[in-house]
Symmetry: C2
Subunit: 163 residues, 2 copies
C-alpha cells in the first residue's frame, strides 16, 4: 500500500519528461477529454502550438530508466519539432492525429497505432485538423537524455498532410 501511495503521488505530481519543461497548471475542467485518464495539465506554449494537455504518469528512476504518460491534443494542436536521444514510443489511445519524421511525409495515426520515433531523429506529433488525438508516450533509457525541443511546426508544414 505504501508503494501504491508513493506511485499515486508520483502520478499526481505530473512527472515524466514534461515536468522538466515546466507545464503550467491551467486545467480546463469543462473540456471533454477523450483520452484514457481524463485529466492533464496545459502544455507550455513555447513547445506546443494550440492546446495540448499532459499527464506525466511514470517518472524515471535509475532502476526503470523509463518515462511515460499521456498527452491529449485538441484538433489542430501539435508539438514543436523535437528529438529524443534514446527515441520515443507512442501508443495512440483516441482520435486521429499526425506524426512526421523529418524529411518524410506526414503519417496519419489512429487509436491503437504504435509509432516508434528513432533516437535523435527530429519529429513532431499532434492532432489532425478536424479531430482531437491522445497518445501514451514511452521514453526508454532516459539516462541518455529525454528531449530536445526545436522550432514550432508551421501552418505550411502542418497543411502538407494528405488526408
Amino acid at each position: 500500500m505504501r508503494k501504491l501511495l508513493n506511485n499515486l503521488l508520483v502520478a499526481c505530481a505530473v512527472v515524466g519528461f514534461f515536468s522538466l519543461v515546466g507545464c503550467s497548471s491551467q486545467n480546463d475542467p469543462d473540456k471533454q477529454l477523450s483520452q484514457v485518464f481524463q485529466q492533464g495539465q496545459l502544455a507550455p506554449a513555447q513547445f506546443f502550438t494550440g492546446n495540448a494537455y499532459v499527464i506525466g504518469m511514470v517518472s524515471s528512476d535509475s532502476v526503470f530508466t523509463t518515462a511515460a504518460g499521456e498527452v491529449y491534443f485538441e484538433a489542430g494542436a501539435r508539438s514543436n519539432w523535437h528529438l529524443h536521444p534514446s527515441g520515443q514510443i507512442l501508443i495512440v489511445t483516441s482520435g486521429v492525429g499526425y506524426h512526421q519524421l523529418i524529411g518524410e511525409p506526414i503519417e496519419l495515426i489512429h487509436k491503437g497505432d504504435v509509432v516508434k520515433c528513432p533516437p535523435n531523429v527530429l519529429h513532431w506529433h499532434g492532432a489532425s485538423k478536424d479531430s482531437a488525438m491522445s497518445h501514451i508516450y514511452i521514453v526508454p533509457n532516459i539516462e541518455k537524455g529525454i528531449v530536445e525541443w526545436k522550432q514550432p511546426v508551421t501552418e505550411e508544414e502542418y497543411l502538407t498532410v494528405n488526408d
Copy 2:
C-alpha cells in the same frame, strides 16, 4: 507510411513478451472488453487463472529495448506469480484489480494507477473478485530478460485481499 504499416503489422502480430509464452488465438467477439484497444488474445492457461486477454503492442528491439502492450482480466482472473529481470511498469486503464509483491499484502489498483514492480521480485496482478481490470504493461531494458513464470496464485492467496 511504410514505418507506420510496419508498426501496425507488428502490433497485429501480438508481439511483446506474451508472444514468447505462446498466446492462443481464441478470441471471444461477444465479450464486452473495457480496455483501451478492444481486442486481444486469450492468454495461455499455464500462466493465468481465469480468462485474460493480451494485446502485445510494442515489440522490443535493440534500439528501444522495451516491450509494451495491454492485458484485460475478467473478474477473478489473474496472472501466475512471475518476475521480470528488469522490472515492469503497469498503468491501469480500466476497472479495479489487485497487485501483490511477494511478502506484502494485496494492493487494490484502479484506473489511472501506476505500479512499478521491482526487478526480480515475485509478483502477480489481475482483476478483483467483482470487477474486470485492464492495464498497459511496459517492460524496460529487456536485454536483461523479459519474464520468468512461476506457480499459480491459489484461491487462498487471492482471497487474502482486504477490500
